[in-house]
Assembly symmetry: C2
Amino acid sequence: MSAIRPVFYVSDGTGITAETIGHSLLTQFADTLFSTDRIPFVDSEERAREAADRIRAKGEEVGVRPVVVSSCVDPELTRLIGESGALVLDIFAPFVEPMERELGQQRKSQVGQAHGMVDFKTYHARINAMNYALTHDDGIAINYDDADLILVAVSRAGKTPTCVYLALHYGVRAANYPLTEEDLEHDRLPPRLRPYRSKLFALSIDPERLHQIREERRPNSRYAQLDTCKREVAAAESLFRAERIPVLSTTHKSIEEIASTVLTTLGIRRGMF
Amino acid sequence: MSAIRPVFYVSDGTGITAETIGHSLLTQFADTLFSTDRIPFVDSEERAREAADRIRAKGEEVGVRPVVVSSCVDPELTRLIGESGALVLDIFAPFVEPMERELGQQRKSQVGQAHGMVDFKTYHARINAMNYALTHDDGIAINYDDADLILVAVSRAGKTPTCVYLALHYGVRAANYPLTEEDLEHDRLPPRLRPYRSKLFALSIDPERLHQIREERRPNSRYAQLDTCKREVAAAESLFRAERIPVLSTTHKSIEEIASTVLTTLGIRRGMF
């Protein structure tokens, strides 16, 4: 049994870029146990030295060489962090030279820009999309004209987290429509949705899983019963088929995968926040 | 004026890792105009060839060599994408060899794992944290015992987006407490918050900016008046100082920066989703 390997995500900004790529890299080494820690806002030599001290101390404490995933744009800061003795992976360094050659220009080392507030207007659009998702979450009294897309599903199939994710990360105005028992009696779209056919995307879910989720929310209710879940899911899937609405099962998908699939399917192209 | 350079984020999974590092890289080349597009779920040779065709066609259409940021774990897929003629930046390749040497083990090429659903329990904790944020958003009738942290601020200072972000990305149960006019008459914490002092983090905001945001929500209301905003912000800041609550101004910060600062300040350590 080897020791737990300490990993530090070090950044001149939030550290989100370093952590995102670092996490992806660590999942490829599943045989090693890692402990992870983030050191954001390392934007001066003083902070870089403090970070290096902390990393060195951790390595000495556990007796294993730490790994640093660094997204500091200034190479001097990354060099100072390297004095900790850690294995330093500089996530931009390998790509800067090929990009400079390809574009015929030098990169500019603006510190901490990637997840900073780029401009007020864009930021505002993002917040508005999120407010939209939160206030259009119950399907009641909604005007769908403003929606970029509408997720349709039975209760607890994953609509809300997906809408919030789409708003937060893509600035997309995502509304949702929870299918009621009455809706499910017909193999046709509810009248309110018919004018918005091109905006619709359906979510489905394994009835057993739906049962688990609903049980946690309202234990021993008719709503949560396995029979109810089976009946609702079957009726919803039949409706989606009849109306040819694109559908994705959320059972084995993360929020990120659902969101990515929805955007690709509906052909919505937005930059990511 | 040079042509717009097409950039493709290509991935065997959602493409979020590729887009995150790609976006960070592009912000360092501010003199070039880029158009960006994502091609997720490229998990077979067939899809890699389709992606290559699409990328080649785009390059021929605009007359500029495209750039591909690839997070495909299987090097064969990345090689096929390279047949498009694009400049391919493989975001894992430079780090795999140093990591293999350091850890003394080979990486395992599981496709599309980084933002996939890792395990049901973790995923469930994340969804529960988000439901927590959404149902604990108004500060009314909340039991704060379960909260990992509580954001305190006047209305529209940025509490809700930050709580939702913390839930979605860190699985942190973030509640919030909107300071009322009555609360602001005193330089002391509202009684309900006093037992939870160690969980508190305060947000402040520039009154002019608050005024803009509130005007959009309730035009020409007393709530949105600049005078009201100035008075509320001054009273809130005075309260935070008197009670020594850590405070951050959200005016020039992104949601990511606010979230990262809150976690670092309160010493909450969680892996990122």
